[in-house]
C-alpha cells in the first residue's frame, strides 16, 4: 500500500514563514580574505592532508612563520580554525538565502541552491571540508565537520511547523536528509566522481521535503527551478519566487 500522508489543506497557505535559527553572524575575519585559510585549503587539496606541511602553507600564504605561530598551535589547529571560519561563512550565507524567502519550502530551496553554488565555486574547499579533513588526527576536527555539515538540518527541521501532522514526521527526518546529501557528496568526491551540486538540488529537495509535506508536494520539487536570487546576501528582502 502506498503511504498516505495528509496534504496540508490548501497547501501553501499553511506553510509558516521561515524563521532563521539563532542567526549565524558574518564572520569577523572573512576566510576568503585570509591568506592562511586559503593556503591551507589549497595545499591540502594538492598534497593531501598528511603530506601537507606548515612550511608549505606559510610559503603559499606568503606569511612569516612568526605570523603562523602567533595564530595557530600547529597544522591541525590551523586546519580546525580555518574549517571553522569557512563553516561560519557557509552557515551565514545559507541562513541569508533561507531567510530571504517567504516560506519554509522556498527558503529551503533557496538555501539549497546557495549551497550548491558555493560548492561549485569552491571545489577545493568542498574537498577539504568533506573529504580531506577526515584524515585529521585530532578527533575534534571530525566532530566539527559533523556539526557544521549538520547545520542544514536545523533549517530542514523547520518543516515541522509547516507539516500538516507534525507528530507523523520521524524524529530523525532532518538528520537523515542532511546525511543523505553529505554522504552522497563525500562518497562521490572520494570515488573520483565529480558531483554537480546544482544537479543534486532537486532530488535532495524531494528527500528533505517528503517527510514533512508528503509525497505529492515533495514530488513537485523534482520540477522546481531555482528561486530568483536575492540581490545580495545582506538581508535584502525584496524577493519574489515561483511560490509567491
Amino acid at each position: 500500500m502506498a503511504p498516505s500522508r495528509p496534504k496540508p489543506g490548501s497547501g501553501r497557505s499553511r506553510l509558516t514563514p521561515p524563521r532563521a535559527e539563532p542567526s549565524p553572524v558574518k564572520p569577523e575575519r572573512d576566510p576568503f580574505q585570509d591568506p592562511i585559510a586559503l593556503a591551507v585549503v589549497d595545499v591540502v587539496a594538492e598534497r593531501g592532508y598528511r603530506a601537507a606541511t606548515v612550511a608549505e602553507i606559510i610559503e603559499r600564504a606568503g606569511v612569516s612563520r612568526e605570523e603562523f605561530d602567533g595564530r595557530f598551535a600547529d597544522k591541525e589547529d590551523c586546519v580546525l580554525r580555518s574549517f571553522d571560519a569557512f563553516a561560519a561563512d557557509w552557515e551565514w550565507r545559507v541562513n541569508n538565502a533561507y531567510s530571504g524567502q517567504p516560506d519554509w519550502r522556498s527558503g529551503l530551496r533557496a538555501a539549497a541552491y546557495e549551497v550548491a553554488d558555493w560548492m561549485s565555486a569552491n571545489p577545493n574547499l568542498v574537498r577539504f571540508g568533506m573529504v580531506d579533513i577526515l584524515e585529521a588526527e585530532n578527533e575534534m576536527v571530525r566532530v566539527r565537520r559533523e556539526q557544521a555539515l549538520s547545520y542544514g538540518g536545523k533549517l530542514i527541521d523547520r518543516g515541522r511547523e509547516a507539516a500538516p501532522d507534525p507528530a507523523a514526521v520521524p524524529e530523525a527526518a532532518a538528520m537523515m536528509a542532511v546525511g543523505s546529501i553529505v554522504q552522497l557528496l563525500t562518497h562521490r568526491l572520494q570515488s573520483g566522481t565529480d558531483p554537480d551540486p546544482v544537479e543534486m538540488v532537486q532530488p535532495m529537495m524531494y528527500q528533505a521535503v517528503r517527510p514533512y509535506l508528503g509525497e505529492e508536494i515533495a514530488r513537485e520539487e523534482l520540477e522546481m527551478t531555482r528561486p530568483e536570487r536575492q540581490a545580495a546576501i545582506d538581508g535584502d528582502k525584496g524577493v519574489s519566487n515561483d511560490e509567491t
Partner: protein, 226 residues
C-alpha cells in the same frame, strides 16, 4: 608388522601441515583483531604497520607474510567484520518474515553489533572511508547492499507512484550518517536507542507513518532472533 607406540610414531604429514595452517590462521586472526583496535583508536591514516605489529606482539616479517601493507590489512578487517555482521543479521531474521520484519530484525541486529563492537563499527563506517580505493569501494558496496534491500520495499508496499531512482541510495547514506555521528561523538553506549528513529525513517516511505509506528511497536527482537 608390529606398530611403534603412538608416542614414538611419526605424525602424519597432513596433520603437521594442518597444524601449521592452523597456526598461520591463528596469527592472522590475532593480527586482524589487533588491527581493528589500532585502526579504530588511531585512525587509519595515523596507523603504521609498526603500530599494528607492536600491539600484536609479532614481527614485521610475519605481518607482511599475511598482508602487502596496512591498506590490505584494513580491507581484510572490513571483510571479517562484514561477515560477522551478515551472520548476525541472518540469524536474527525469522523464517518467513515479510520485508518490514526483515528490516526491523536486521536493523536491531546491526545496532546490537555496533553497541557490542563499537571499535569494529568505527572501522567499517568511518575508517574505511580513508582506507584507500578498495576499502572505499567496499564501503560503497555495503551502502548499495542496504539501498538494494530498501528498494525491495517498493514492491512489498506496491508504491505508486514510485520515488525517484536515487531515493534508496540517499536513504542508505542518511542511515549511515546517523550512525557515524554517534560514533564520531563517542556516543555508542545507547546506540540501541537509535532503533526507533532509524526504523521510522527507513520504513515510513514504504509503509506510511501509521503502519510504520504500529510495526515498530509490534516488533519483538527476542522472538525474531528465535
Amino acid at each position: 608388522m608390529a606398530q611403534l607406540p603412538q608416542s614414538l610414531s611419526k605424525a602424519p604429514v597432513g596433520r603437521t601441515r594442518l597444524s601449521r595452517e592452523a597456526l598461520t590462521e591463528h596469527q592472522r586472526e590475532r593480527l586482524l583483531t589487533t588491527a581493528t583496535e589500532v585502526f579504530a583508536k588511531r585512525g587509519f591514516t595515523a596507523t603504521t604497520v609498526d603500530n599494528i605489529v607492536a600491539a600484536a606482539n609479532i614481527g614485521v616479517g610475519s605481518f607482511y607474510a599475511h598482508f602487502d601493507g596496512k591498506a590490505e590489512c584494513l580491507l581484510a578487517v572490513c571483510e571479517r567484520i562484514s561477515g560477522e555482521v551478515h551472520a548476525q543479521i541472518a540469524a536474527s531474521v525469522p523464517a518467513g518474515a515479510d520485508w518490514a520484519d526483515q528490516a526491523l530484525a536486521g536493523l536491531h541486529a546491526f545496532l546490537s553489533f555496533v553497541a557490542a563492537e563499537p571499535l569494529s563499527a568505527r572501522v567499517v563506517l568511518i575508517e574505511a572511508q580513508t582506507g584507500g580505493p578498495e576499502a572505499l569501494a567496499r564501503y560503497g558496496e555495503v551502502l548499495e547492499e542496504l539501498a538494494a534491500f530498501l528498494r525491495a520495499g517498493r514492491a512489498a508496499a506496491k508504491l505508486d507512484p514510485e520515488p525517484p531512482p536515487s531515493f534508496e541510495e540517499a536513504a542508505a547514506s542518511g542511515l549511515a550518517w546517523l550512525l557515524q555521528g554517534r560514533l564520531v561523538r563517542g556516543e555508542v553506549d545507547d546506540v540501541n536507542s537509535l532503533f526507533e528513529e532509524m526504523a521510522e525513517v527507513a520504513l515510513e516511505p514504504y509503509l506510511g507513518a501509521k503502519q510504520t509506528k504500529a510495526r515498530i511497536r509490534a516488533f519483538a527482537p527476542d522472538a525474531a532472533s528465535g
